[in-house]
Amino acid sequence: MSTIVETHEDHGHHGPAKGLTRWLFTTNHKDIGTLYLWFSFLMLFIGGAMAMVVRAELFEPGLQIIQPEFFNQMTTNHGLIMVFGVIMPAFVGLANWMIPMQIGAPDMALPRLNNLSFWLLPMAFTILLSTLFMEPGGPNFGWTFYAPLSTTYAPDTVTFFIFSIHIMGASSILGSINIITTILNMRAPGLTLMKMPLFCWSWLITAYLLIAVMPVLAGTVTMMLMDIHFGTSFFNAAGGGDPILFQHIFWFFGHPEVYIMILPAFGIVSHVISTFSRKPIFGYSSMVYALTSIAILSFVVWAHHMFTVGMPLAGELFFMYSTMLIAIPTGVKVFNWVATMFKGSISFETPMLFAIAFVALFTIGGFSGLMLTIVPADFQYHDTYFVVAHFHYVLVPGSLFGIFAGVYYWIPKWTGNMYDETLGKLHFWLSFISVNLTFFPMHFVGLAGMPRRYPDYALQFADFNAMASVGAFIFGFSQLLLLFIVIKSIRTGKKASSEVWEDAKGRGLEWTLESPPPYHSFTIQPEVK
């Protein structure tokens, strides 16, 4: 049996340090998880506010409140912040909180590195956001920053952007190394890989993806840096390079990146559905295989973002077929969730509502993904709002709802207090209705021909755009409710038992700890049979 010591001089049970230094210098997985989650929440408001600016401008045709240059900065930073500042940190925060508790470990494997991974993020985003206030303006070349718009034709602040991407990458790589090490090395005796909770599985796979592709992103921005400042010609035909090379390398990172933003949500949703259907998850091992296949396939589908760049026919066909294959493992997951609900005993607490919405709406996003991968059809869809509709369906009611489900599911465990169920349900219904109001009409404007990244548009798109804007404002304000619910649950609320949810004890080690759990999760590693 293993116990844990903090250091030789202060043994045993003691809480966290007091004051600000607790957060700056902490090595505790829960503190760091909390930091990640709050950081992500803050970023959701910043990135969301940018989306509001975008939606306000697009409410009607004509230029109303902002100029095209600033519009481009808003969409770009909205995308970057949502991807790197909201979804990813939120998942890492959940991983920090839950993985040690789910595998019966005292903490993460490399606690000091863990602190570094977090604190790199605020640094990177400080730099990124500060460029918005500099003279030539912040990044305005889309979150995909295609060369040469992002090299030869970029505002000078692109240099800051490049280095901040490096730092974000470093943060993700260090974080993933930590997660992999924790999962592989620190499991409680008896907890074999194939007994491990699906959230840990999904993060193990995600962490592999991150370690594999973040360095490639670092390589991409390094090439940009060299092209801009040192006269190389990676992305310049005049010297024998190719702007399309940029896209290949970017999407070699970018596509696995979108699965990085969904796999942990798959894990969360599996737990939630199983708990509230009061049934074990259906097809546990096929869930694991599906996760693995999605991850492996994700490395060979990248060019489906580039069907119109003029790839040779063989390339188009290869990337179309390989992308279509992803529907198989993803379908397996969807069917397994439905089969878990089938013949269950289902109750509808807030986490479950978000999980159900996740299954339905993520699948709709998946369907439009499948449509996008049909190359000839993509000639019409590409770079229109149809794509915007697709990825918001998988990202907002997908990843973001997955995170919401996880937060509601585990927050009683974290704080020891139940959240306010009535408000939770209200938050759900407001979000659910408005998210559809926002993003469903985008399918129509896209099909009818409205290109994305347009600050102004032709008259026939006006109606659906107005509708989407109204939806977006409602959705945005609904998130203030979430903030309120979270704060309320931290401060007051019905005390939560250690199980929190009915019969949860058998569903994972985290439910054997009291709520809130002790500062060092498992000072004695439990034996799993």
Partner: protein, 382 residues
């Protein structure tokens, strides 16, 4: 109040559309257009096919899910079963999905191969994307011109009522004959653009330094509108495409006219121009080519686009001014206009900028004759 009434009007309209089934009907302007070519029609059918497959799968999956949620709700006393896998079931749905995918892949492949036919066209047109306009060069006929947005800045800024073709009209459309195989050689001059005409189902990126090809064969005369679909900077939304497909005879006379006009323009270089003539002509050239960046009032959009009003170069440094127009500024959006504008146009636009706003008063106010541009060209070529 205005907001509220706009909203009511819009929603009224939208719900009408949805409930009359118009949204889903194939002819709706809320669906992908059929287009006019064979390829666009097959793509439309492909799109409807996959959409219905997805809808079908959705109905089944969501049907089972919502039915289970209802049937097995705890509040009705449902007791959870214990099973947690079923090998046969898992294998069959995996195979089922695979089969559906193969069935979709077959027509997709066929249509794709159809679009990838890369033989020479009857007419070959080089399409070049610029920040933020299109250039069309007819490779057989020595015709070349630019196509700019024709919507006025006042409409964009909501100072004038928006016309029917707001943001979808250009000063000079691309003209093609019907029932001919037209091949486009698409490239970019500065950043990547993308040339899209939905009715032809042609969308190809215009990549600087490389040429992509696409083709079409339009059976019906008409005006077809498209857009730039790759983020290319702040004018991305303002470089539409208009294609006028006409009968062969009309096309032929258009070509003849174009060639005659070009010849006439060339002759203008040898004439000596007065200041007024230059300024007058320059105003038009400026409006067409420069205001996107330097603005009508010559103030530009600092810091990215400098003001020409009060610029030292424009006021006092004629040589450098010519050089900038001819060579562009490396690494900045200021491109070379040497191949975009005729000598006369360059001379007149420079003269115009030197004599407009406060520049006439504060600067040397010198004019530039077309001959000077011709001389510059000859000098550089040596």
């Amino acid at each position: 109040m205005k907001l509220a009434s706009t909203l009511t009007r819009k929603f009224h309209y939208i719900f009408l559309c949805i409930f009359s089934g118009q949204v889903f009907s194939e002819a709706s302007k809320y669906n992908m257009p059929h287009g006019v070519t064979e390829v666009s029609e097959s793509i439309f059918e492909l799109h409807m096919l996959i959409m219905w497959v997805c809808v079908g799968i959705g109905v089944v999956v969501f049907g089972i899910m919502f039915w289970s949620l209802w049937k097995y709700r705890k509040s009705s006393g449902a007791v959870a079963a214990k099973f947690d896998d079923h090998f046969g079931l898992e294998i069959s749905w995996t195979i089922l999905v695979a089969v559906i995918l193969v069935l979709i892949a077959i027509p997709s492949t066929i249509v794709l191969i159809q679009t990838y036919d890369d033989t020479e066209g009857d007419i070959n047109i080089m399409v070049t994307g610029y920040q933020w306009k299109w250039q069309y060069k007819y490779l057989e006929d020595d015709i070349s011109f630019f196509s700019n947005l024709a919507t006025s800045q006042e409409e964009i800024d909501n100072q004038l009522a928006k016309g029917e073709y707001y943001l979808r009209e250009v000063d000079e459309p691309l003209v093609i004959p019907i029932n001919k195989r037209i091949r486009f050689l698409i490239t970019g001059n500065d950043v990547i653009h993308s040339w899209w005409v939905p009715d032809f189902a042609v969308k190809q990126d215009a990549v600087p330094g490389f040429i992509n090809t696409a083709w079409t064969n339009v059976p019906e005369p008409g005006i077809y509108r498209g857009a730039c679909t790759e983020l290319c900077g702040l004018g991305h939304a303002f470089m539409p495409i208009v294609v006028r497909a006409v009968e062969q005879e009309e096309y032929d006379s258009w070509v003849a006219e174009k060639i005659a006009f070009a010849e006439q323009e060339r002759l203008l270089n040898y004439k000596v121009w007065t200041r007024e003539e230059l300024v007058q002509r320059g105003e038009g050239v400026y409006a067409k080519n420069c205001i996107a960046c330097h603005q009508t009032n010559g103030q530009g959009l600092p810091p990215v686009f400098p003001a020409l009003d009060g610029s030292n170069i424009v006021m006092n440094d004629k040589t450098r001014n010519i050089e900038i127009l001819m060579e562009g500024v490396r690494g900045a959006a200021m491109q070379s206009f040497a191949n975009q504008l005729s000598e006369v146009d360059i001379a007149s636009v420079i003269t115009y900028t030197r004599r407009s706003w406060g520049n006439n008063k504060n600067g040397d106010g010198e004019i530039v004759e077309p001959k000077e541009i011709v001389d510059y060209k000859n000098r550089v070529e040596l």
